[in-house]
C-alpha cells in the first residue's frame, strides 16, 4: 500500500518536472518560461520528497528530505522574483506582448 502511494507521488512529481521542461521549450518569452520552469517544479519537488520519505527507513533521512522541500519553497520565489524583475527592467521580457501593463503607467 505504501509502495503504491509513494509510486503515485513520485510519478506525479516527475510528470510535473517533465511538463516544466516542455514548457521551457514551448513558451515564447522570458516571463512565460519563468512560469513554466519554476512553478510546477515546486509542487513536483514536494511530491517527490513526500513519495521518497515513504520509502526511506531512517528518521534523519526524512529530516533531510524535509530540508530539501523547505529550501525549495524558500528559494524558488526569490529567484523567480529577481529574474522576472531583471527581465522587466532590462526589457528582455517581451513587454510589448502584454495585454495589460499596469506597472508602466
Amino acid at each position: 500500500m505504501t509502495d503504491v502511494l509513494s509510486a503515485v507521488l513520485l510519478l506525479s512529481g516527475v510528470s510535473l518536472a517533465l511538463i516544466a521542461g516542455l514548457g521551457l521549450v514551448r513558451f515564447p518569452d522570458v516571463f512565460s518560461r519563468m512560469h513554466a520552469a519554476t512553478k510546477p517544479t515546486t509542487l513536483g519537488v514536494l511530491l517527490v520528497t513526500v513519495g521518497a520519505s515513504l520509502q526511506v527507513d531512517s528518521g534523519d533521512d526524512r529530516v533531510k528530505l524535509l530540508l530539501v522541500a523547505a529550501f525549495q519553497f524558500l528559494t524558488a520565489p526569490v529567484a523567480a522574483h529577481m529574474i522576472g524583475r531583471a527581465a522587466y527592467r532590462t526589457g528582455a521580457g517581451a513587454i510589448d506582448e502584454l495585454v495589460v501593463d499596469e506597472l508602466r503607467d
Binding site: F31, K39, P40, T42, H81, G84, Y88, V99
Partner: protein, 183 residues
C-alpha cells in the same frame, strides 16, 4: 556577547538545527559543530534586525496555508494544461495589486505566495505605496478578466492579513468587509 547582539541568537539556533538536520544525528559533536558554524556565519554576515511586527495568529495561518496548498495544486494543473496545449494563445499581463497594510512581513509572505503559485509571479514590490506588481501568465478573455485576477489575489491578501497582519490592519480589514458584505 553584548545586548545588541542578542537578537542574533535565534539565527544561530536555526542554523544549528539545519546543520544537525543535514548531518543526521543530534550528537554532541554535531550540535557543537553547528553552533560554531552558525556563530561564524552570523559574525561574517550579520542578519538585518527586523523590528517586531506583532503576533502571528496560528489558526489563521493554518487557514492561509491550507488555501495556499489548494491554490498551488489547482494552479499547477492549469499551467500544466497551458503547456500541453500549445495552440492556446497566452494573454500575459502585469497587474497592480494594492495591499492593505504595509508591514514587511505581510508583503514578504504575500509576494512569495504569489510567486510560488503557478501562473502568477511578483515582478516589483512598491513598498512606499504598498503595491505589488504581478505578472500573470494568462488573464483569459473577457472585459473584466484583469479584475477577476486582481480579486483572486486579494482573496489571498485577505487571508494573509488575518494571519500575520498587524492588529490595526486586521481591524481595518474586518470593518471594510463588514460594510461591503462578506466576500
Amino acid at each position: 556577547m553584548t545586548m545588541s547582539r542578542l537578537h542574533r541568537l535565534p539565527m544561530v539556533a536555526w542554523l544549528t538545527v539545519v546543520w544537525v538536520g543535514l548531518w543526521g544525528l543530534p550528537s554532541a559533536a554535531n550540535v557543537l559543530g553547528g553552533l560554531a558554524v552558525g556563530a561564524g556565519v552570523v559574525a561574517l554576515l550579520p542578519p538585518t534586525r527586523v523590528p517586531s511586527q506583532g503576533l502571528v495568529r496560528p489558526l489563521a495561518l493554518l487557514r492561509f496555508l491550507g488555501f495556499f496548498a489548494f491554490d498551488l495544486m489547482r494552479a499547477s494543473a492549469r499551467v500544466a494544461g497551458q503547456v500541453l496545449c500549445p495552440r492556446h494563445q497566452l494573454r500575459q499581463a502585469v497587474v497592480a495589486v494594492p495591499v492593505r497594510g504595509a508591514s514587511d512581513r505581510l508583503l514578504t509572505l504575500l509576494a512569495n505566495a504569489i510567486s510560488l503559485t503557478p501562473g502568477t509571479l511578483t515582478l516589483e514590490v512598491d513598498r512606499p505605496r504598498s503595491t505589488l506588481y504581478v505578472h500573470v501568465l494568462d488573464v483569459g478573455g473577457g472585459p473584466d478578466a484583469v479584475e477577476q485576477v486582481r480579486a483572486s489575489i486579494l482573496r489571498v491578501e485577505r487571508l494573509a492579513i488575518l494571519a500575520v497582519g498587524s492588529a490595526d490592519c486586521r481591524k481595518a480589514l474586518l470593518e471594510d468587509t463588514g460594510q461591503a458584505g462578506r466576500t
